[in-house]
Amino acid sequence: MTTKPEMTAAEIASAVAGRRMSALDATEAALARIKQHDTVLNSFTDVTADRARAKARAIDADLAAGKSVGPLAGVPFAVKNLFDVAGLATRAGSKINRDRAPAKRDATLIERMEAAGAVLVGALNMGEYAYDFTGENVHDGPSRNPHDTTRMSGGSSGGSGSAVGGALVPIALGSDTNGSIRVPSSFCGIFGLKPTYGRLSRARSFPFVASLDHLGPFARSATDLALAYDAMQGPDADDAACTTRGLEPTTPLLANPVSDLRIAIAGGYFQQNVFPEAVEAISRVAKALGATRVVDVPEAARARAAAYVISTTEGASLHLDRLRKRPNDFDPAVRDRLIAGAMVPAPLVDRAQKFRRWYRAQLAEIFKSVDVLLAPATPCTAPKLGQVNFNLDGVELPVRANIGIHTQPISFIGLPVVAVPVPLEPLPIGVQIICAPWREDIALRVAYALEKMGVVAAPSPKGF
């Protein structure tokens, strides 16, 4: 059986488990696509071909011996290069970290994906130290948008967005502190899950902002997103923030009806500073779901401000010694943001953390009468690489500062979100499906329903 470029993870796993395709064939096909297209997309920084082939052969041997294989058997996947991969220095998009010793052990989430039968094929480009919304990187070059390679992939998990959007792999993992899974999902036209804060282990990944860091999957379908999420759940003593809640599988619930859900559109702040394409995307999703109620999220602008303050100060604290010793080895833009972050007075950070608790209580109140909130994932489709400003209603606004304005107030309090791709022409754009804590199942269910209705889909890459 030959592999098609856009086979989903579920299709690959089914074909491998049914012995209609070998895990090695699935792996070789992904490696060939990477070789053919990544010279343009620049989404990979490391291709772990030998490791991948060895893992694939082991799966095929298990199948030949009649052993059971996991739900992701033979599925190629890749990870943002802030995940530890045994044998590689965890560069986290930086020049400095390349001097670190190679990781001795894989990140927990890689171990769990491989325990489910998935095959790691490499590590992915990202914005330096995850302090980025563009997918650009001064050391490795930008990862490029698979629908128009002159445009941004989105950041900071840019390589993850580019690789999945470009159908090089069906699943990638990334991180999201302020929007770094949801922004590349939106720009690259794919599905992305930022789970509840603490739901997926961050063990053996390079941090950015401990208060706000999340890890999660990207995929080309809601089913694949759920399969990856389910494979990665579970407590982990190696991450202090990881929940001790038991596994809550979402895949069996995907096809449940959504007609009983109370779905509302986030109003006020979330309807401001948006381009027509973001308005159109929300409108299509809301119409399909029959959502007409608009709910104002109080103080969302202040929540974004508080997330900004916490990010810049915790990020500065993390990198303080590197800023002293190797300031010229940073991307200058990242260095200057971090040095400024080190200079923010401590009381403002404390107040931001206190405001966070107040704001969380407001959202908890909203979720008493609402199951799902819809909001834009980004205010616009992918800007041009290097673009500095965009013009909105006659006002020039800086691109970098505004890409994440709709994602930051949500991750600030750790709510689970699935970013779903609305396949507008000429470029796709994402919508956030936001739920109460630990209700990833509802967000994934809505994403699945929208996909079945044909309202959301990962478009075929056409930029290369």
Binding site: Y197, L320, R324, D336, L348, F355
Partner: protein, 59 residues
């Protein structure tokens, strides 16, 4: 002419032993101005004295 934040930048840089080359100063100042503006926005919001910070989100 020195900008209003320059003395502050120099003092904190010295206190934290952070390098600030003159060429970087305009960018650091611009970033700090944004952070302080957003910090003021948080500061202006009245919270009860008993409010606990939320360094880790829990349910």
């Amino acid at each position: 002419m020195a900008e209003p934040l320059d003395d502050y930048i120099d003092a904190v840089a010295k206190a934290l032993a952070l390098p600030v080359e003159e060429a970087w100063r305009p960018s650091i100042r611009a970033n700090l101005e944004v952070s302080l503006r957003l910090g003021r926005m948080v500061d202006e919001f009245a919270l009860p004295d008993e409010t606990e910070p939320a360094p880790v989100f829990t349910v």
